[in-house]
Amino acid sequence: MLKAPTPEVDTGEALPLLDVRDLTVEFQTRRGIVQAVKHVNISLAKGETLGIVGESGSGKSVTSYAVMRILDRAGRIAEGSVMFSNLDLRKIDESDMRDLRGREMSMIFQSPRLALNPIRKIGHQIEDVLLQHAQVDAAAVSEKAVEILEHVRIARPRERYHAYPFELSGGMCQRVVIALALACRPQLLIADEPTTGLDVTTQKAVMDLVVELTRERGMSTILITHDLGLAAAYCDKVIVMEKGNVVETAAAEAIFKSPEHPYTRKLMRATPRPGIALRDLLPEEDAARAGPIGSKTASASAPLLKVENLVKEYPRQGVTSSLKKLFKRGPVPESEIFRAVDGISFEIARGESVGLVGESGCGKSTTSMMLMRLIDKTSGTITFDGEDIGSIPAKTFATLPQRRRIQMVFQDPTDSLNPRFTAARAIADPLLRLSDISRKDLRARCEQLATQVGLPLNLLDRFPHQLSGGQKARIGIARAIALKPDLVVLDEPTAALDVSVQAVVLNLLQDLKDTLGMSYLFVSHDLNVVRLLCDRVIVMKTGQIVEQGPTDRVMDMPQADYTRDLLAAIPHPPI
């Protein structure tokens, strides 16, 4: 839908713009030399958009750094050739290479805020590039910089020229990074995860902008991403990498319709998309082994959790306000207050799983922290199984018996495990504190829980740094279900995981819910994932609920404009 049209003049056949042959990149590490990229071939025609897709550690970013010759000190190109329109990039010297960078080939990095010099005005950063490559003379350079900012759709460019990166939003920073990359009208643009960490609506705006600008200039683009859907939606051709090897190269439609390599098949299946069920994420044989998903167990009796008019306010940060507070000591004026959660009401039934969706800063995390009784509300009620738990201070809640009935799975599996605790100790922690299990039975219970979450028993005595991300996620889940809670809040439990691991973990969560009869509140920014796991969805924006209802209804017939925007922004692979 958003693809660049095939160039009319077929220059691609005769001479590719970029031709990488047999590229091997080595890194000097403590364990000796490691090959991060192995014998990779890439051919990119003029005006073509190529996607490089792979999970973490596949070597996709290293490949592009090698092309740009900006590998860090430990890395080097060991073998192969990199031809850029008749120039052998391995042979030319560094000053010529520097001349090419930014002028003929440029790059956009992930985390746009970090990619900009934090203490230099953005206008000056664009000028640096323009002057370096002698695009304009010094007198006209600031005009040119403003013009470029205008091209990337930055409103009030003349004003923003004087802005520092910290004064701009993430999406705006990424536009500035794009402006830097395209300032000298290069022939090749490499975009390395350009939208990771951006909200889905911002992601769409940024990607559309990149496509439009590169198309109108007839540029070639390499899009590096972990998101197969994103690559398929925006690219002509897709390369799939695994552990430093290219496993498949094909046209974008072909990759989704008839993936050849088993890894591509697995990756494709694991990508959440509309019209599939949870089991479809798993490889065929595993899906068959896992069996069908239990029927929905949500009961219509009294709700387990009832939230009414919940509000959380924070004072605005800043020197002025704290100084004022120091001297005045009066009630804080209205404008000093920021409402993170602004009067929301909803219910969760027993055995139901409810999705809480919204973009960053919408108040979904604050809501979940209040439900968990980790922070105190400003006003409103939280009723859990008929008891008003919202009025119990968060400070004292930790040691109360109610604590065991509400548990949580955290976003970052690494951060949520104590680095000094073994897996078994981590799982045992809630049992030791909140149950009267005897020391004798403790180990057995840990092993039982480990089996339940599919963690091999021989890993129980390992420390977090000796485990993979998926294994750590399983420990976090085992810990959360150890006390057989009634409600589990899942705070983006798969956001830090690769898609194939995410597929497994999502299925595990579904199965645990079916066997243990828990309720879930699933906090996520990813509507496709929510669709697979949840019975009902709540959509939040700036602290308020804009829409809630059964998943299918909300996803297929959204009532609120904002929900429609969210859905439209998800990249849809061509199926």
Binding site: L282, P283, D286, R289, A290, G291, L374, A398, T399, R403, R404, I406, Q407, M408, F410, D412, D415, S416, L417, N418, P419, R420, F421, A424, D429, P430, R433, L434, R439, K440, L442, R443, A444, Q448, L449, T451, Q452, G454, P456, N458, L459, D461, R462, F463, Q466, L467, S468, G469, G470, Q471, G476, R479, V501, V504, N507, L508, D511, L512, T515, L516
Partner: protein, 316 residues
């Protein structure tokens, strides 16, 4: 964690799901501690890559030995003066020469190790207990605890530290105990700062939230979860401030505070030799000064080595 061999009761319908991570590493036997193993491996790696750290460990052993048994092995009485043999340059009889009173400098340097070592160790232990505790509490609880601790620490930091130590010793009285106290007080902000920052970042860490959900109270979280994670960094801090404590104590006795002659102490010995430098009798000040330097150097290297051990990322 007993009885790892017992068979667990059959879990309720374990879902048959594929494993997601490589399970290739060797299976640890029960009771085996993989963590310790990896720390030793890491230490070996660091020692192999950086022999200087190995040297630091050897020097540390030497200093500790001198402090322990120094007074029993020295060839001369460190206090015995012999005016006939005054101001002799180093000879086979007096390896480091003799001072104005004919005392053997080698013996005095070795014997002094114990006093300097004790001053440094006790002051560091004192400040570790006070500053470490105050800092962790400030970082974890925030609010008034934090405000009070930070205010005290900021007030100490408002003085140039050595100058404050001079003032404290002058006020409390000119004794070795007060040197220890002054050294501890001026190091207080450094400990508070490190402990507070580390506790503060961990306060909101996922694993602390998780511990709270598991029913741990504040006290248990502080001692059981946060403290063990901060200890390695505090150990580095101890090693680094140890050198500073020695320098500080020696500086004070150099200007005539604390230790009284004729007690052998490195700082005061350098002061005694200072006047003779311009007439060419270099050995009186050089050897105690060099001993001081080696001791401080050792603790600094040790601190760097420990830091590598604790956090390879922060190597500079």
């Amino acid at each position: 964690m007993t009885d790892t061999t017992s068979i667990a009761p059959t879990p309720t319908a374990a879902p048959q799901l594929p494993s997601d991570g490589p399970v290739t590493a060797p299976i640890p036997t029960p009771g085996h501690k993989p963590e310790q193993n990896s720390i030793f491996a890491h230490a070996r790696y660091i020692a192999a890559e950086n022999p200087v750290t190995g040297l630091a460990f050897a020097l540390f052993a030497l200093i500790a030995l001198c402090a322990l048994i120094g007074p029993y092995i020295v060839p001369h009485d460190p206090l015995a003066s012999d005016t006939a043999a005054a101001l002799q340059a180093p000879t086979w009889k007096h390896w480091f020469g003799t001072d104005q009173l004919g005392r053997d400098i080698f013996s005095r340097v070795v014997v002094a190790t114990r006093l300097d070592f004790i001053i440094a160790v006790t002051s560091v232990a004192l400040v570790f207990a006070m500053g470490g505790f105050a800092g962790i509490a400030a970082g974890y609880f925030g609010g008034w605890t934090d405000r009070i601790v930070s205010r005290v620490s900021d007030t100490i930091m408002a003085f140039p530290l050595f100058v404050l130590a001079m003032g404290i010793v002058a006020a409390l009285g000119n004794t070795v105990t007060n040197i220890v106290i002054a050294t501890a007080i001026i190091n207080f902000p450094l400990y508070v700062r490190v402990a507070r920052a580390e506790a503060n970042v961990r306060r909101e860490a996922g694993f602390v939230q998780a511990a709270r959900l598991s029913g741990n109270g504040d006290f248990r979280i502080l001692l059981g979860h946060i403290l063990p994670n901060i200890m390695p960094i505090m150990m580095v801090q101890i090693s680094l401030t140890m050198g500073y404590a020695i320098l500080n104590a020696a500086g004070l006795s150099f200007i005539g505070l604390g230790v009284k002659p004729p007690t052998p102490e490195w700082g005061i010995m350098v002061a005694e030799g200072a006047a003779n430098i311009i007439s060419g009798e270099w050995w009186i000040a050089l050897f105690p000064g060099a001993a001081l330097m080696v001791a401080v150097f050792t603790f600094n290297l040790l601190g760097d080595g420990l830091r590598d051990l604790v956090d390879p990322q922060r190597r500079t």
